[in-house]
């Protein structure tokens, strides 16, 4: 095993990156005398990433001691300054807590318990995610809690639940990717969004395997694909249905597997009859030969993985897209064995763990449902409340902003998220935040969303606290503390305990004195649930290099592969082959708005950019958004590389620099979403929600364009 270099006076703290679901292993270099993080060193022995890091990971440590860190609570007395950086004054924790408690209590007396809301995120540990759900329901006693996974993972979750009866993002460990024979990758720019899995994909190709990529853009991963299905944004379901049609037509289905382990095949087969390659080509713009070749390769592959990401999920039919692509694995039986299976590429660091344990409006720890009385009873026993005290299910993230507009919600406690950049239809969302009676924001920087707050609480970064995260494989891993909290900053779990105490709820929270205390209560709360973490102690996570859930007891080593016994999690043990009905994007190009606008990430930034836009190297590489378009489109509008264009939709407008490339469809413009204020492309995006996952359709809307000077 490769050794690390160690400098005198330094300690290496093994941990993981703060950013995406890959959760790359890294060592933080700590100056022991100063107790200060000063750099990074590869973690060669982490089995998933072998020391590899993307540019965000390499520079992640620079967040901790950054000059923009919030070191004390901030209070703003003049509400007319909301939406700006102005008017904040430094305050003590006591003063900030007093103000929060006074406002929360007054509002709840006047307008009822549910006038408060909690908006959370999943770029934080399981301990924090778990406690946030308890904080909302037990300390604040509100039903309105939801989180930014609604803009990220909720369609994958809904799709997997529907097909398999369980939502674990991957049915196999990532170390299988280089060993399979075919990767079918839909709606994922893995090279930019999950770069450290790329060496496995290339190794698969070097072994003679096949790569099929479905994407409107010829991204760096699509560049090397054997087949690139360059579809029109928002038409994925037609591709998925066509693949099923062709697998059946070509005789590449596993009839015994379908018969024994699935339901719904006959209906699906009948439905996809209409999705001939010719019809699908008309809908999607992809050549007939490519569709046929892709299905032939996947069908013939001895082992194959179906993988997908936000490209198919951030649509108003995201759940159906997921189930459509999962059908490929179910009809061919390429699931429930090694080197075959299905995975979503989780976007946020703890996108997996963070959605399982009660931050979602209708969920409780262990993937329990708040609408199931037995589940509520089980969690109440751990929490020490009665089932009558448990609030009902609330609404999804975007819908909370709609309720703020209607004054049904008058206050928000925001943490670990920056919806003033990441939510769709931002003119509405920013307005809703501005008109709140009282808003609290916990963050370690003054984000665009913090600019709408009355009180800002300084949280710690990931490197100043410890706890667990569940990576995109479903592997529970350990984040270690490398430095004491900077200034007066505190971990979110501690802030919530202290607010709860001041709200008179100390008896439910005061026993939680360390992150490990929270973890141990959390383990108990998940016991017997679908996402059972009970057996995953911190010691086991350290010694095994992660534990895959479910892990039900001290002796259980965890579950790297799902469904090896061909038993799915629906009551009859079978998977469901759905028949998702095709429909176009909510907004299609028209005479007035003739262009398809799509959004996504670049390799240099993470989510709303609140963290990465402050890192000098990342800013040097990409400091502003751009409108990526084909040279033919650029010529048609009389613009070229470096010129500016104004893009307008029915909801908003923005001016962006032109980036010309032939690696995009001629009818589509791509703009990355990591930027704030007037640079946010989410001013333009559409908020039509998936009926099941409540995911907005970030990936396709209709726009018009004009040159801008």
């Amino acid at each position: 095993m490769t050794q690390n270099i160690k400098q005198a006076g330094e300690q290496l703290i093994p941990t993981h990156c703060s950013y995406c679901g890959m959760q790359c292993g890294m060592n933080l270099r700590v100056d022991v005398k100063q107790n200060k993080i000063i750099g990074v060193e590869p973690r060669y022995d982490w089995p998933v990433t072998l020391g590899k890091m993307c540019p965000k990971g390499v520079t992640a440590y620079q967040q901790t001691n950054h000059e923009d860190r919030l070191l004390t609570p901030l209070i703003r007395d003049d509400a007319s300054l909301k939406g700006t950086k102005k008017g904040f004054r430094k305050a003590t924790w006591e003063e900030a807590y007093d103000l929060i408690v006074k406002n929360f209590q007054t509002l709840q007396q006047q307008y009822g318990k549910d006038t408060l809301s909690v908006f959370s995120g999943v770029s934080m540990t399981n301990e924090k995610c778990y406690l946030t759900g308890k904080f909302a329901r037990v300390a604040l006693q509100t039903k309105y809690i939801d989180y930014n996974g609604r803009f990220c993972m909720s369609s994958a979750a809904g799709g997997m639940l529907g097909s398999f009866g369980v939502d674990r993002g991957s049915t196999f460990p990532w170390t299988d990717i280089n060993e399979t024979d075919c990767v079918f990758l839909a709606g994922s720019n893995a090279a930019e969004c999950h770069p450290t899995m790329m060496f496995r994909i290339w190794e698969m190709l070097e072994r003679g395997g096949y790569l099929i990529v479905v994407d409107p853009r010829k991204t760096p991963v699509a560049r090397r694909a054997d087949v690139h299905l360059d579809l029109k944004p928002g038409t994925d379901l037609a591709i998925a249905n066509c693949m099923l049609h062709l697998l059946i037509r070509n005789g590449h289905i596993d009839e015994a597997f379908i018969e024994k382990h699935t339901n719904g095949f006959a209906d699906a087969a009948a439905y996809v009859q209409a999705f001939t390659p010719e019809h699908t080509s008309n809908v999607t713009g992809v050549a007939v030969e490519k569709l046929e070749r892709a299905a032939e390769i996947y069908g013939k592959a001895p082992n194959a993985l179906v993988m997908f990401a936000r490209g198919i999920e951030q649509q108003h039919k995201g759940v159906d897209n997921v189930q459509g692509y999962i059908n490929m694995a179910l009809v061919t039986g390429k699931i429930g064995r090694k080197k075959s299976g299905v995975a979503t590429l989780t976007g946020q660091g703890n996108g997996q763990g963070g959605r399982e344990h009660g931050q979602k409006s209708d969920l409780l720890p262990g993937y329990r449902k708040i609408t199931n009385p037995q589940h509520v009873k089980e969690v109440c026993e751990v929490w020490g409340i009665t089932p009558e005290e448990m609030p009902d299910a609330g609404v999804s993230a975007y819908e909370m902003f709609e309720l703020m507009e209607k004054k049904e919600i008058r206050s928000m406690y925001l943490l670990c998220s920056n919806p003033a950049v990441s939510a769709p239809n931002l003119n509405m969302v920013r307005n809703a935040m501005k008109n709140l009676d009282f808003m609290v924001c916990c963050d370690f920087y003054l984000s665009e969303s913090a600019e709408f707050a009355d009180v800002v609480l300084p949280a710690v970064t990931w490197s100043e606290d410890e706890g667990t995260v569940t990576n995109l494989e479903g592997r529970i891993i350990k984040i270690n503390r490398a430095q004491r909290p900077l200034g007066d900053s505190k971990p979110d779990w501690k802030i919530q305990v202290e607010i709860a105490e001041r709200l008179g709820k100390g008896k439910y929270f005061s026993h939680l004195k360390t992150a490990e205390d929270v973890f141990n209560e959390f383990r108990l709360a998940t016991k017997g649930g679908t996402a059972d973490y009970y057996g995953a102690t911190w010691e086991k996570i350290e010694s095994q290099k992660g534990v895959f859930w479910p892990c039900k007891s001290e002796h259980d080593k965890g579950t790297p592969y799902l469904f090896l016994d061909k038993t799915f999690y629906h009551p009859d043990g079978k998977a469901v082959i759905h028949s998702p009905v095709y429909r176009p994007p909510a907004e299609e190009p028209c005479e007035q708005y003739p262009i398809i606008l799509t959004t996504g990430r670049v390799v240099f930034h993470y989510l709303s950019g609140n963290q990465t836009r402050r890192i000098p190297f990342l800013q040097e590489m990409c400091s502003e958004p751009f409108a990526e378009m084909h040279p033919m489109m650029a010529k048609q509008y009389g613009v070229w590389e470096g010129n500016k264009v104004k893009l307008t939709t029915r909801r908003g407008e923005g001016v962006f620099k032109v980036k010309v490339t032939e690696a995009i469809r001629k009818d589509t413009v791509f703009v990355p979403y990591h930027f704030g204020d007037e640079q946010s492309v989410n001013l333009l995006t559409i908020a039509t929600l998936d009926p099941k996952s409540r995911m907005p359709e970030f990936k396709a809307c209709a726009a018009k364009m004009e040159g801008w000077t």
Binding site: M198, K300, P302, A663
Partner: protein, 188 residues
Amino acid sequence: MTKSVLYLELDNCIGCRSCLAACTQCGGHDEKYRNYVVDVNPLVDTQTMPLMCLHCVNPACARSCPAQAIQIHETGAVLSARVEKCIGCQNCTIACPYGIPKFDVEQNLMYKCDLCIERTQHDIPPMCASVCPTNTLQWLTKEQLAMKKEQNVLDNGKWIASSDHYLENETNVHISLPGILQKKQKLF
């Protein structure tokens, strides 16, 4: 020479610039990156490639230096200019056919890749190859390199990658030319 060598598979590059970010993290690098990534076909596609010092056996940069400021380490690594010797003439920045040496005006000093000599002299991989998410940059033992060459020499009579013949110079860094997947025997 060390047990291992730097080996490049250019076709793998996705343009993430992780190698640049990592370069700034090496102890002796003054937080300045010393390798580069170029867009091969700007305005056309996403093909990129890293531009690395190849650590020539008889390097043009050192030959062009009137002050013997560029020394060659016993491992073969061509080091950055020595502060006390560099006269700031910038000959090397032009002599190098790959444009690797750069000039720091403030310090009146040339700087270039030293193959993370603090690391590689102990056979610890350089930062760029340690982090490269795509295996474009690899730190291989001589045996692994021999296997790579065998794999990548293609038997179609026309195309040869990883030729034993050096393109420009004899170098300590080895390159597999783009196209390593061409005519690859597929699994099925």
